[in-house]
Symmetry: C2
Subunit: 533 residues, 2 copies
């Protein structure tokens, strides 16, 4: 399949003529054909206006219809075969095995959201039947459920060209809720995005949804992004990327005449605490696991542990030695783009330039700029230095972590309490450590969206119990997750139907419970039909 | 009980010395003893810092503990007896019967939230047990629940001195979630607020909660309000009031280094549609019901129907005549404050000053300014004029409604589609009307948080299925309700616990399900214990 390099606007290709750009293969530095054409602001606006019209249709589609759409999308993505993986590899430098896994995750989450909306109870249906004889006043029949919010703008991420991009978790959950989606493709993998968008459009056509259920827009810079967020038809925004960009979108959304929610997943250090018993019990295994976690995807994961805290004890030097040893043996890796590599080096150097920060070890060979490589490295400092230098909590998005050594448990807790919002926090400890770690866990449960014990934060499971979110600046909305089935709740709002005859109610709220949902009836969960008083 | 006129800061009275003010009896214009003392910014800050410390305790209290606190608060408010009602009557001019009912509602919602947190399933517990043998990768044990957000600042409303004020729905739902609360008392009823706050503090003391679980602050002007919203310890804000004030708080919260959610319930016209069959069938009953609804509380309800749309038909003149007749017979009423009265007259006059708007009827006697009175009135215009003059959708907070006559069903739908966000929308129709009203209901379900058929929007039931919210400018966050049990969701966030040993988990997530919650286990609702793999 040859790529046209144009935006896909409500089923039609956009106009050529905008500024052109190409993807580059980070592993070779060479640009990749074809040219891609930036969409105009008028095209972006037209895509959103078409999405607003499509919304009149998508919002009332049954869960079964939406499930079929999501499943067909997964099938069509799979049908792209190796071409998709090869293009993604060329554009990102990521290994085929990783991309194969990521495709599985992408299609898996489309199918998981299909299950959620086919089953249907996610709408949190609540029915309080009329009480006409109640004194002093009768109660009206009241029924509430969640309905779709409206067109959603999604910004593709750099680091997950499939799972957080054209058909990633934001897209899947917004479509599942009944919202049309307009994706701004990430400039680093426009061909991957075009292939995926074409597959989605085939699914939309096959399932009889309006073409404007989905559009993909190429472009760059903040002007287009801000225009998408400020468009009156936009009802919500999903974003994964840097703090600066996420905050700019959030600020633009908050300054609208009618503000809208922005779900920006931005920056996180993902602190990992290694308590004394764990150091004694399994220093080598933790060092190896930590290396694997902070270098996974060349350190370009939102959940990469970028800060490690240890309490000084008899085994601390051995742990640090073991960590230095595995890092020294680790190869460098190709980063996603030269811009990401440069930002990584700059942020890493800001940390290592602080007095009393010592580089403990670097990888087996230095990264070559012409191959966009970076070598893994680890530095160390004292808790006192960490607490005195907020710059040490700078996220360096790449294969680097900073080990902070606390003199005792109290100083360790002080470090935890000094942290800003995080996606994750992790504790390694033996049974005695954990028994004594109440204050530490309390601090971490307050600052993070997910707390991991004796594991590693990378590898975000897509399931009902996942929470991928956290207090600011990890995200702009601590109340929601961007991974897992609860992500659908971002794109819905409650509506209460009072005094409706049964025939005018959405089927989720009808007396007979034709969808078989678990509903809350008179405050109690039930799948039973409702009898009117 | 004699009033001290001071703020109540974490169980202690504030310092006198700030600017003084008094409440005024709107029915007489006379000021009421004693003087109240505005809190200093330092006192406001100290209250929030104390709340942040108290939060370490309140967030881990059991649902049973929090339930006992809420129930004791209700009992203590009731124990204030007639003194509370008399003070509230003097400060607001509201009739004793209304205030008695409102006290019942206030205590009722405290007890309802007590039920919700004692039962406990509101935390939306989700458990995905470990799958150690899964290929290609094992799954960790993942458990998620909602936890309290942090200290909440609540702004007391003018129009519900009990139910949306010192111990209103925002306070009750925030305390239920486990959040300490700092209330900025409304300046129009400071004595009522002091009495209620004293009752709450007695309950806090009796239940062994930290005194800073609740503080009440006196003050006025935007400086104090903005300072409360901008304080680093503040985690969320509840507000009921004007659009200008709500938007200012929202903007301040969005501009914080770490933005926080603001739940501002601001302005709504609550459009009510009377379809031809309903006009024919029960013009008199609808006219009478409408009068009751738009003059309830002298028109000072968030859900007051301020716009009425009718399609012109054989019975329209008769309906308008009947409406004029009942309005002409209706007495004037005392409004809450002279400022509210002046704003009402100004906004009403802005509407009636538009060319082609005709005053249809005014009440039996003109309101006397010295008694803060306003007379009910109704005006009428054409749909064409309505669509051409956005000023006609100005909320006039008081006993006034504008009847808009559409030439046909299409024009009626066009009016519905032109509306901004609303708390409620209402349709009166007979069976044939409703059968044919798909486009109208669709438009209203998109623009409003609650749609009422053949009823009136005033009288907001406090129950699980209620939604009191809506698209902007009705509220600043369409995803949440401020009335009903779902209001607790505003003040909570999810946390995922990964790989936790059972003993370190919150009881809501423990294997044995000691609280007997309805949880989602492996994606399916269950009250069963969980077996670890």
């Amino acid at each position: 399949m040859s790529l046209h390099g144009l935006s896909l606007l409500a089923g039609q290709t956009g106009q050529p003529g905008g500024k052109r750009f190409r993807a580059a293969n980070p592993a070779t530095g060479q640009s990749i054909e074809p040219d891609f054409h930036e969409a105009s602001l008028a095209e972006a606006s037209a895509a959103l206006e078409a999405a607003a019209i499509a919304f009149a249709d998508t919002r009332v589609r049954s869960g079964a219809d939406r499930a079929r759409l999501l499943e067909t999308m997964a099938t069509e993505i799979e049908a792209l075969g190796d071409e998709l993986l090869q293009r993604a590899q060329a554009e990102t430098g990521l290994p085929l095995a990783r991309l194969t896994g990521e495709r599985g995750r992408t299609c898996g989450q489309l199918r998981l959201f299909a299950q959620v909306v086919r089953e249907g109870s996610w709408v949190d249906a609540r029915i309080d039947p009329a009480q006409p004889a109640r004194q002093p006043l009768p109660r009206a029949d009241l029924r509430r459920m969640l309905v779709a919010l409206g067109p959603v703008v999604v910004f593709g991420s750099s680091n997950f060209p499939l799972a957080f991009s054209a058909a990633g978790g934001d897209t899947a959950s917004a479509l599942a809720a009944g919202c049309p989606v307009v994706v701004k493709a990430h400039r680093a993998h426009p061909g991957t995005a075009e292939l995926v968008a074409t597959a989605l459009q085939r699914a939309i056509s096959a399932c009889g949804f309006p073409p404007a259920t989905y559009s993909l827009i190429h472009g760059g810079g903040s002007t287009l992004g801000i225009a998408l967020v400020k468009h009156p038809a936009t009802a919500a925004v999903g974003f994964t990327g840097s703090h600066a960009a996420g905050r700019a979108l959030f600020d633009a959304a908050a300054a609208r005449p009618h503000p809208i929610p922005v779900f920006a997943e931005m920056s996180s250090l993902n602190p990992l605490f290694v308590l004394p018993g764990a150091q004694a019990e399994r220093a080598a295994a933790i060092a190896q696991g930590l290396l694997g976690s902070f270098t996974l995807g060349v350190g370009q994961f939102c959940t990469k542990p970028g800060l490690v805290f240890v309490t000084r004890g008899a085994d601390t030097d051995a742990f640090l030695q073991k960590l230095a040893e595995v890092v020294r043996a680790a190869p460098c890796g190709t980063m996603l783009t030269s811009g990401i590599r440069e930002a990584f080096l700059e942020n890493r150097n800001r940390v290592t330039a602080v007095a009393d920060v010592r580089v403990l070890a670097t990888g087996s060979a230095p990264g070559r700029p012409e191959r966009t490589e970076a070598e893994p490295s680890v530095a160390t400092t004292s808790a006192r230095t960490f607490l005195a230098n907020p710059v040490l909590a700078t996220e360096a998005f790449g294969p680097f972590t900073l080990v902070v050594v606390a003199e005792d448990a109290a100083e360790l807790v002080a470090c935890a309490q000094a942290l800003e919002g995080q996606l994750t926090a992790t504790v390694h400890g033996d049974a005695d450590d954990l028994e004594a770690s109440g204050a530490l866990l309390d601090a971490l449960e307050r600052v993070a969206g997910r707390v991991v014990i004796n594991g590693f934060p990378t590898g975000v499971e897509v399931c009902p119990a996942m929470n991928h979110g956290g207090p600011y600046p990890a995200t702009t909305d601590v109340r929601f997750t961007s991974v897992g089935t609860a992500a659908i709740l971002r794109f819905a709002r409650p509506v209460c139907f009072q005094g409706y005859p049964d025939s005018l109610l959405p089927s989720a709220l009808q007396d007979a419970n034709p969808l078989g949902l678990l509903r809350m009836v008179d405050g109690k969960p039930s799948r039973d039909p409702v009898t009117r008083g």
